[in-house]
């Protein structure tokens, strides 16, 4: 089996695995829609008070709400993707089996996570966005090229998201119970991805820092590409640089972990 086909099969497995739970998907869509509705009204109040806040008009702000709700599960913004499973495998010692496999650990999990994300983009992303577009006046672009650029930004954001969570999961080699580390990373995801509030509404230095951190690649940057508020190439370079840096850090940490830490279990 060629390596390309191997990882394609792992990705397809990730897709099918999440596609199995239809009721859970429907429930997730419902929850995203409810939260989208609540946020939409608070944003309307906010933009009523101060039009052009953060450089958006009200339609753009509402678009931001519904796109970010659509991307929430795709990006595993709050954690809860593959990393819980990887942490559990490290804790129980099953990781030893994974390390024996003739496949690269990082690529293996990346492929599975991309499969999951593709399903959630289709299964959980589309419906809340359509609901939002029907219930509110959104500023969605008509140009298919903009949508294509958006999808590329989503893919790059996904790789960044994966690379962060891979690092977090590897911390379990030292902490044994990696739940705390995963939770802290999830918090950064919630706050710095722009899920609660667009990062360009953040004031002063906090805004500068938030926009430079890798989490901004998850939601803020792809949405800005869609809204035409950010340069496409600049966004890709920003996301790509973080992706490469974090994936490389993951490789280093992985080799340290597998060399120095004695696997538990017998």
């Amino acid at each position: 089996m060629g390596t390309g086909r191997l990882y394609a099969a792992v990705a397809a497995g990730g897709f099918r695995r999440y596609a199995t739970y239809r009721a859970a998907t429907a429930a997730g869509v419902f929850t995203n829609t409810v939260f989208g509705l609540i946020l939409a009204y608070t944003y309307i109040a906010l933009w009523d008070e101060k039009p052009r806040l953060g450089g958006y008009d009200q339609a753009q702000a509402l678009t931001y709400v519904w796109i970010s709700q659509a991307l929430l599960a795709v990006m595993s913004t709050m954690g809860g993707g593959f990393e819980d499973e990887l942490i559990e495998r490290i804790r129980t010692g099953d990781i030893a089996v994974d390390l024996y496999r003739p496949a690269d650990l990082q690529l293996w999990w990346l492929a599975g996570d991309l499969g999951r994300a593709l399903f959630q983009l289709l299964g959980r992303g589309v419906v809340p966005l359509v609901f939002g577009a029907l219930a509110f006046e959104l500023a969605l672009p008509g140009d298919p090229l903009v949508w294509l650029a958006f999808l590329v930004a989503v893919l790059l954001g996904l790789v960044v998201s994966f690379a962060i969570r891979f690092l977090v999961a590897l911390a379990a080699f030292w902490l044994m119970d990696g739940l705390g580390a995963a939770q802290l990373a999830g918090l950064c995801g919630i706050f710095f991805s722009g899920m609660l509030l667009p990062l360009n509404v953040f004031p002063g230095a906090l805004g500068e820092i938030a926009r430079a951190l890798p989490w901004s690649a998850l939601i803020q940057r792809p949405v800005d590409v869609l809204l035409g508020e950010a340069g496409v190439l600049g966004t890709f370079v920003f996301q790509g640089a973080w992706a490469v840096a974090l994936l490389a850090a993951g490789r280093v940490l992985q080799s340290v972990a597998t060399r120095r830490v004695v696997v538990q279990g017998g």
């Binding site: 739970y21 239809r22 009721a23 859970a24 429907a26 429930a27 997730g28 419902f30 929850t31 409810v34 939260f35 509705l37 609540i38 009204y41 608070t42 309307i44 109040a45 906010l46 008070e49 101060k50 806040l53 902490l175 044994m176 119970d177 990696g178 739940l179 705390g180 580390a181 939770q183 802290l184 999830g186 918090l187 919630i190 706050f191 609660l196 509030l197 509404v201 953040f202 004031p203 906090l206």
Partner: protein
């Protein structure tokens, strides 16, 4: 082999009292077991507790960031929003701590481990509520109480005895409404096993909604959370009484005193839903 001892009829009032006592005792024992188990990984517990606290803090920081750009949201100032936020978050946090594990019920139905709970001589509701009792959720309660304290300290309220009483009343009755939501959500999971997230839309979503003033939302939505799903009684109506603000939907002033009735009504309905759900349960048999 007969049924569980506690359900043998021993005269109605005594039986009901005994059931409640049994349920609380089982709850205490299971929760205690989970606390001891959590403490096996102390560093991780400290981190998750801090994470729970910090997560809710960030939630409020987002609101503060909004107010760094505007002076009012829906006509309400930051301390007034903090008052709404503190009341909702504290009562929600207490309920989340006590019965927040109810959303794991669907998983137990799916993998068949619910059967284990059914054969144990303790009320199922107590067992499910205490399942994986998470002490780290104290983080949310702490944060909610801090925000409430800030609001009370900063707000210039003309306190009367009734207004003072309104605060603990709202916390308690709000807890009843949220608790009923968790139990009803649990009952729903007997039917829709994987759909645990629907429950989050009502519990966590309800909490988020109540953190903002009612003037922010569309009238139909406010009507829905007043008359259909009575979330407005958790904090909006009591808080508006304390703040001396007009009620949404031109409701009369006395509705601020109705949360105990509404809370009790919700609990009765949730109890009935729970019974119906538990009765309808059929084990997968695997």
């Amino acid at each position: 082999m007969g049924g569980p001892v506690w359900s043998v009829a021993e005269g109605r009032p005594y039986g009901a009292y005994r059931r409640l006592a049994d349920g609380l005792r089982a709850y205490r024992m299971i929760a205690g077991m989970w606390i001891r188990s959590t403490m096996a990984y102390r560093l991780s517990f400290a981190m998750t507790m801090f994470g729970n606290f910090a997560g809710t803090v960030l939630d409020f920081v987002a609101i503060m960031l909004m107010f760094s750009q505007v002076d009012e949201l829906g006509g309400y100032t930051l301390p007034e929003v903090a008052f709404l936020y503190g009341l909702a978050s504290t009562s929600f946090g207490l309920v989340d701590l006590a019965v927040g594990s109810m959303d794991r019920l669907g998983r137990r139905v799916r993998d068949g481990t619910l059967d284990t709970l059914l054969v144990r001589p303790a009320p199922v509701l107590a067992q499910v509520a205490a399942d994986r009792f998470a002490l780290r959720r104290l983080g949310r309660v702490t944060q909610g109480a801090l925000v409430l304290g800030y609001a009370v300290a900063v707000l210039d309220i003309d306190w009367t005895p009734l207004k003072v009483l309104m605060v603990p009343m709202a916390l308690f009755c709000g807890g009843l409404v949220f608790g009923a939501l968790f139990v009803a959500g649990g009952a729903f999971q007997f039917v829709a096993q994987d759909a645990a997230e629907v429950q989050n839309a009502f519990t966590y979503g309800g909490n988020t909604l109540l953190q903002y003033p009612p003037t922010v939302f569309a009238k139909e939505l406010v009507r829905g959370v007043t008359f259909v799903l009575p979330l407005a009684f958790v904090n909006w109506l009591p808080a508006l009484y304390v703040l001396g603000r007009p009620y949404p939907l031109d409701l009369p002033a006395w509705v601020a005193f109705t949360p105990p009735l509404v809370g009790a009504g919700c609990c009765v309905l949730a109890g009935l839903a729970w019974r119906a759900g538990l009765r309808s349960y059929r084990s997968t048999g695997s």
